[in-house]
Amino acid sequence: MSRVVWAAWRLGVAAVRGPAGRPLSQATTGGAEEGGAEGGGSGSGSREAVERLVRAHPVVVFMKGSPAQPLCGFSSAVVQILRLHGVEDYNAHDVLQDPDLRQGIKNYSNWPTIPQVYLNGEFVGGCDILLQMHQNGDLVEELKKLGIRSALLDAEKDQDKK
């Protein structure tokens, strides 16, 4: 896997962090704060509620449907990519069940679509980006940082033994 690609990705992550080292997605996005119909206040789509969800587990996915039964091709792709890496233990939230969360998660990450993948509380991207990370080896590295050994590494080892 290209170290240049890895370095560029890390640079990109660093660039979207604010001065306190926290992702800028948590900064004010205008209109997404208290009250109103945009998931503010104390509802399931509030900043605080979403923050609790994204930090509750190293791998958190907001999707349509569930890992057992995804209801959208893009959400299904995310589940399948994670499964390829042997990641089956993660928190998945079905936004179709909770309209406040559905809007709240978009406000939180300032990202307009579902699915959304969070690693270690940090927004990583949607289906396209996860696929790219899978293809260029970045996902294996990111999982490693979370203490998760990708199943693909074991698959490679098995191949070497043949």
């Binding site: 560029a8 990705w9 640079l11 990109g12 992550v13 660039a15 979207v16 349509k64 449907g65 995804p70 209801l71 959208c72 091709g73 893009f74 959400s75 299904s76 792709a77 179709l96 309209p99 559905r102 300032n110 990202w111 307009p112 679509t113 579902i114 927004f123 990583v124 991207g125 949607g126 289906c127 396209d128 980006i129 696929l131 790219q132 990370m133 293809q135």
Partner: protein, 133 residues
């Protein structure tokens, strides 16, 4: 780019036919194309209406995929590149544009890899929506 000179019902029918082939001839496709062109000055730009893949009628203009090749992406991580595309299409994403698949590469990257990953199959997601995304 190509123009759609036929008015009214003929345009709708033509739009359906072209959209059935995955092209983008409707007003949303045109808006997406012109906004991305203005924002990112792409050297290559492909805008496809993929609503037909998601159970919508041909020409539904709800799900799109875009391939944007632009020097503006140089030095930017994938997340930042996608955010640039989203920013250009903010109004559409707040409105009728329900889903957007993005390939964002620099001209150098596109030259060495001009292929687009296969789209995941639809699993009927839109039909499960009680309200729009």
């Amino acid at each position: 780019s190509f123009s759609c000179p036929m008015p009214g019902p003929l345009l709708a029918a033509a739009g359906r036919g072209l959209s059935a082939m995955g092209g983008g001839c409707g007003p949303l496709a045109s808006a997406i194309r012109s906004k991305l062109a203005a924002a990112l000055q792409p050297t290559h730009l492909q805008v496809l209406d993929e609503s037909w893949r998601h159970g919508g009628p041909p020409g539904a203009e709800s799900h799109f995929s875009v391939v944007v090749v632009s020097e503006r992406f140089a030095g930017l991580a994938p997340l930042q590149r996608h955010r640039l595309v989203h920013a250009a299409l903010r109004a559409e994403l707040a409105g009728p544009l329900h889903a957007l698949a993005i390939v964002a590469r620099t001209p150098q990257q596109w030259e060495s890899d001009p292929h687009v990953p296969a789209r995941p199959p639809c699993l009927g997601g839109s039909k499960h929506d009680q309200r729009r995304d």
